[in-house]
Chain length 239, copies 2
DNA sequence: GCTAACTGTGTATGCCATGAACAGTGTATG
DNA sequence: CATACACTGTTCATGGCATACACAGTTAGC
């Protein structure tokens, strides 16, 4: 594992797998990567993603922002570690059939995103490369092993369900963020603009129920997952 | 439409619907909202979302960043207008059945996101409130009118398909961003860590095909949409 | 013509990520 | 055991950002 090769890896990947160059001389580091990541998570939990800055994290540890750069080469790298730690390890593999397994998987992932509502804002992109995130993928693949689908289809399902969780988490957070008087002001404002201007159906929806209001029930959340699972089931039955 | 009420609206909503207070005295504004929004879109197209700053937009117009605040009260407001303009108006309503309509809708939306790859990064949250975005929703509702589903289910479908488009757009962009030598470095690095450490299935997938490589075919993109449509179809047949 | 409203500019503040120089510290090597 | 060097955290510094404020120039309405 050359240094050359490590430099080509996505930021944070090497660190996430424990590739931290062992120092031999000099003072002991006062902190651990884990402490720093925990402080970052605590900071985001307390003040949100926008307040997740290097100074704010450092302050929680009682050091200066620059000291963090003795442990990390960039904020981006830190965020990769934060994402891995905050999503956390996957739950125990489910025992039922593929449908039960995927349902449990999606609910568990959604649960994590509710615990840290800033998690879906982290600009951590691309395929998973860190232990926990790959663990979630392993868990999914295991849960779908009895489906009889090929590797490519199962990966397609993983991408699909993962995307659903992130969209849903984002939706849930946004909806909960709206105070009722703002929702009312919005529909009061939009109503006149929609009527008779080519927005007939939207207007009906908005006037019918409170549009975007807190009326997201558990059933609404599960609706999309149910469709996806049915669609996968149709594929399985067809083959 | 009191000012009081307008202040309660989400940022940019009033502006997007043309509520711009008509000035009576003083010099003519040198620019229009449309010009500013176009400049922002050009800037993001040219240098990406990270370079979409008030100074960079203003420079394109030949003015100072502060001058923008004569037209907009915040960057957030601008981004709402940018999102509405960059997604653009919905396509003509499709003529086939609901499945053809939703397919066309999803592909059209995906096409827009490919045209402006930074679009899915815009922190424009919550339910749509601007003319074009609501137009897309109207278009979707119209396309599903013949499905026989109730309003709540149709809205659930809209949310589901919209989420799929955004996830897919994000995936496509990320995947295309990876140079091949980095992909190779990554699988070379991950391989040894996954074998025999509880990541058997992930390891198989990675070693099998190039994991995360450019190998996303059109069929892979359509896979998720196909499952979703099948799932919706099952729901329709069941009722 | 005068005044007030409105424009764009210059200046300023307080954030941010990050680089560089520096002083203190403790270990490996002489 | 002494010393040099690697490594720590701090201070200082840079350039970028969103945005507030005061100002000078412009023009429509009185």
């Amino acid at each position: 594992m050359d240094d050359v090769e490590i430099e080509l890896l996505p930021p944070g990947t090497a660190l996430a797998w424990g590739y931290t160059p062992a120092p031999r001389r000099g003072p002991k580091p006062g902190y651990s990567l884990e402490q720093i990541v925990d402080a970052a998570i605590a900071q985001a939990d307390a003040e949100g993603y926008a307040a997740l800055s290097m100074p704010s994290i450092a302050k929680r540890l009682g050091i200066t922002a620059n000291a963090l750069y003795r442990y990390l080469s960039s904020k981006e790298e830190l965020l990769v570690l934060v994402a891995d730690a905050a999503w956390g390890p996957p739950p125990e593999p489910s025992s039922g059939d593929w449908r039960a397994a995927v349902t449990a998987w999606a609910r568990a992932l959604l649960e994590r995103s509710r615990r840290h509502s800033w998690l879906i804002d982290l600009p951590v992109r691309g395929a998973p490369t860190t232990p926990n995130l790959l663990g979630w993928l392993e868990n999914f693949l295991e849960g779908m092993a009895d489906s009889g689908l090929g590797a490519q289809d199962v990966m397609g399902c993983a991408v699909l369900v993962d995307g659903w969780v992130r969209s849903t988490a984002s939706l849930l957070r946004d909806v909960n963020a709206n105070p009722p008087e703002q929702v009312q002001a919005l529909s009061g404002f939009l109503g006149p603009h929609l009527q008779g201007r080519g927005y007939a159906r939207v207007a009906a929806v908005i006037s019918g129920e409170a549009y975007g209001e807190e009326g997201i029930e558990e059933a609404d959340v599960e609706f999309g997952l149910g469709r996806i699972l049915d669609g996968i089931e149709m594929l399985i039955d067809r083959r």
